[in-house]
Subunit: 181 residues, 2 copies
């Protein structure tokens, strides 16, 4: 039997848990910029063939003047409003749980949860995340967009590995530990 | 010249930044209990000779049926209300900044900031913490007492080291990076 496809939340946060500063600023991420160092991002992305992203975060990427990458993957943009698909980019207004169940029922690579905070919260709340790869940036931001908003259920994790990098980023890789005490 | 005494915040938190769960529960810490493993705590404590702790946290230790340890150190219990000293335990109602400046003006070992969240917040807000040793417990608690409350200034850090332990605890050791861009 093939192993089940996993849903992986892959994201960076400050030590105090912010994935963006005030006005959605991502400027703090630049403190770990290093030529030729992508902190394993491309290797990770290669293990996935589907992406789940919130509509606001998707639009944010576009307003920053970037094309949304991952054109080779099935991208599900989670939205309240139905919109026509754009190639491999599909707007999805249904239940997240049903989407995950449907994807897991199909063969494929892992599923990349690309944020933002609202989608991460919803996914964690429904216990739909199988692994978390959290890159902790060496800064306290003090304010901004919290990755872990209050109101989540208790979720026990198992550390798979942690890795420390030259610029002070520590990448924590956890798997969700379900059903154990 | 002797190096200046450092103020070190040494504390455990869940991945989502809680130092205690609902009703101040510390039960989640038991998931990393391992015989003979103190995660470097005693070695750390030996590098200090003074402790700063909030009055509520101090009282909490006592109501849990423990004696407050560190009887060999100068313990400053930060309180709004003046109370008579108890041996080496001194109630302190003045300015935290003045206390730190006074201690740094004296010779001695490092200064251990033992929490709780309110004192940690005040110390971080006034940029009085020189190093942070944060033990990340492999769990999302979802609610409780947040270590990093909002409203802190941006504080750049430098990673000194990270260490991963068998039970999934990752200890992050940062120094405050002042005055660099």
């Amino acid at each position: 039997m093939e192993p089940e496809r996993k849903v992986i939340l892959y994201i960076s946060m400050s030590l105090d848990g912010y994935i963006a500063g005030i006005n959605d600023s991502l400027e703090f991420l630049s403190m770990v910029d290093e030529e030729g160092q992508d902190y394993g991002y491309h290797d990770f992305v290669d293990t996935t063939d589907s992406v789940i992203i919130g509509r606001k975060t998707f639009d944010k990427v576009l307003t920053m003047g970037f094309e949304y990458p991952h054109t080779d993957k099935d991208v599900y943009i989670i939205s309240r409003t139905s919109r026509p698909d754009k190639g491999s980019f599909k707007y999805y207004t249904g239940s997240l749980k049903e989407l995950i169940l449907k994807l897991k029922d199909q063969r494929g690579k892992d599923i990349y949860c690309d944020g933002g905070a609202q989608i991460a919260h919803q996914m964690l709340k429904e216990d739909l995340i199988d692994e978390l790869v959290i890159s902790v940036i060496p800064i306290i931001l003090g304010q901004g967009v919290s990755l872990f908003q209050s109101g989540l259920p208790e979720l026990k994790l198992k550390l798979l590995r942690s890795k420390q990098y030259e610029k002070g980023l520590v990448q924590l890789h956890y798997t969700r530990e379900r059903g154990s005490s």
